[in-house]
Assembly symmetry: C2
Homo-oligomer: 363 residues x 2
């Protein structure tokens, strides 16, 4: 693995959309008992179900500590690859590399600076090496981007457009020394995009400072989904409307107006007393006490090859969301996976997965 | 990775000879200061030189702890892959899997039981998972062999013959519950060999209980090299002669008489006061105090693609050994690497490397 000092855009590399072909999916095995209740056993079961679902469509590699290696190996299906890799928690989307590709089919990695979502836990010494280790394992060269960023805070259409939120990327807990223009330039340089669409706030109570991957995602060039509610008393109401206003007026890098699909959120989900009581106390992690509202959203899905893996919450709204995804993506198999246990730890299916694109040679 | 309960021989698998084509070479990064002097820095430099030499001929993957990952990545050449993998020391030959192949080009792994060479250190909890993790990373199915064995204690010609020592395989510190016949049967079952040649004792003072890879190795079917001395006062004299007697009378699996090349050992090498003083004290490791005679041998070489990587010791005998190897293997590039720092930790180049064979389809 070469550590590259050049810039992906200048080298002809760009970040492909998640709906482009993958070579594999990366995940990290959850284990810390101060973030995951009951010794992380319910979370491990939930992650296993996600890995099992995705591995029906593409290869999956799960990274795990030495201590949990044998347990993870036994609990995951044989077709899932399990490799040792230390981390501080289990959010591959945010700690892994961003993969970029060129027209010759070469895939490279971009490693961002990482500060645990502006300091949600401490330390993050293991997480900040994950991107490098993934690139090394795959024998890929790796760029080092000079700003803090998590993969979940951006989404691209693969045709030059990036969508993100001001709440996250302009937050003083990320890159306070950089101006909006400097951040735009780094996104353009390291992801090969031309146009950045700035939404305002992310999903209500999303502790990531409003990652866009829980709020709004591209489903194909020119089309996106936005999490939504019709309940005027829900704090999400105003957030979604404000973002909808922006999206309905914006154009993408190819000057298309965007088609926006609204996906109604599940009913509000709150941490129960029982759930709270299973989490170890710690001074160094973000606590979600009983009664805490969790940022549930169907938009936190993962595109696998030929499929869409969608978080569901055993909620009456699940059905409507799945029906909508079937309409929007008629050529994909829509696969629901129950995600409450992942949500209890701070995210959902997109947050715990990371696609590695297939390098495709373009004539 | 499937954990297989069947037997390689019955599935049509066999262990290829090391001189057959490789897909890559595996190593482990040394770091424990109670085995390697001066915080393992001289050993890391020596291992890096071995990795660098081999990586000119074939791919090399070096496994390393999280703590040493960044250091190893910076110190090893970019063309070497570095992956996180916990271990108790740095002897991939002995803790890694034995790879077996079939005629369809499929490669599988065999995992042996491991007890740290009969208990040279404690614990060995990390080492005993290395074989599984290597197989998992390579997406190979893995057999579990029901006996203690290290890769360095056997050598095969790829045509049905295995060579080993009684000192090691029949030692009460390995498999005291198994008879010689049972051990032979497991070797036949798990390595696909038909004939076992039993040598007596390994190299003098070899703490592995006399691993054959420091004593005698196949260089092609029907031909082997044996470490040797003409000094009648050296304890190695009797050992080498006794083994030569056996070899000169034996036939291999194809009923060939063996051609034996004698490689004169280097002058005796002793641990110096300075070397000894750089090693951390520990109750749980094997100590090699000042004045301790080290089991130096040129036979502890590694076959890389088109090359032979040979340990040398800055000894007058180096030249003679290299000349002999050039004669015996005229089509290979003979590459010497200074190995005293590896020897100080208990082995040499073959001990710290492990070839992964290329699966080759045979019509």
């Amino acid at each position: 693995m070469n550590l590259l000092e050049s810039i992906p855009r200048k080298d002809g590399f760009r970040m492909p959309a998640e709906f482009e072909p993958h070579s594999k999916c990366w995940m990290i095995w959850p284990e810390r008992p101060d973030n995951w209740r009951n010794g992380a056993k319910p979370a491990q079961e939930a992650y296993s179900k996600v890995a099992e679902a995705i591995s029906q469509f593409e290869k999956v590699t799960v990274c795990v500590s030495h201590e949990q290696y044998y347990n993870a190996r036994k609990k995951l299906p044989p077709r899932v690859r399990v490799v040792e890799m230390s981390s501080n928690d289990a959010w591959m989307r945010d700690v892994g590399p961003t993969f970029v590709v060129n027209d010759e089919g070469i895939v490279r990695a971009v490693r961002w600076k990482f500060n645990a979502w502006g300091g949600l836990y401490f330390p993050w010494d293991k997480d900040e090496l994950v991107a490098l280790k993934v690139a090394d394992m795959e024998e890929m060269d790796c760029y080092q981007a000079p700003m803090v960023l998590e993969g979940g805070s951006i989404d691209v259409d693969g045709e030059g457009t990036l969508i993100t939120t001001e709440e996250c990327l302009l937050n003083s807990n990320r890159n306070p020394q950089l101006s909006k223009e400097q951040i735009e330039q780094f996104l353009k340089d390291y992801l090969g995009v031309e146009k950045i669409i700035w939404l305002k706030r992310g999903v209500y109570n999303d502790e990531t400072s409003g990652h866009v991957d829980n709020l709004c995602r591209f489903v194909r060039p020119g089309e996106a989904v936005l999490t939504w509610t019709e309940d005027r008393n829900d704090p999400q109401y105003e957030i979604s409307r404000e973002n909808y206003e922006i999206l309905s007026k914006e154009t993408d890098a190819r000057r298309r107006r965007l088609k926006i699909h609204l996906i109604h959120q599940p009913s509000p989900i709150y941490v129960t007393e029982e759930e709270d009581s299973g989490v170890d106390f710690s001074e160094r992690t973000h606590r979600r006490p009983a009664g805490y509202r969790l940022p549930a959203s169907y938009v936190n899905f993962y595109f696998a090859r030929g499929a869409l893996i969608v978080p569901v919450f055993n909620d009456p709204k699940d059905k409507e969301a799945l029906r909508k995804f079937r309409e929007i993506l008629p050529d994909r198999k829509i696969v629901p996976v129950y995600a409450r246990e992942i949500l209890l730890g701070g995210g959902a299916i997109h947050c715990i997965t990371l696609q590695q694109p297939l390098g495709v040679r373009r004539c």
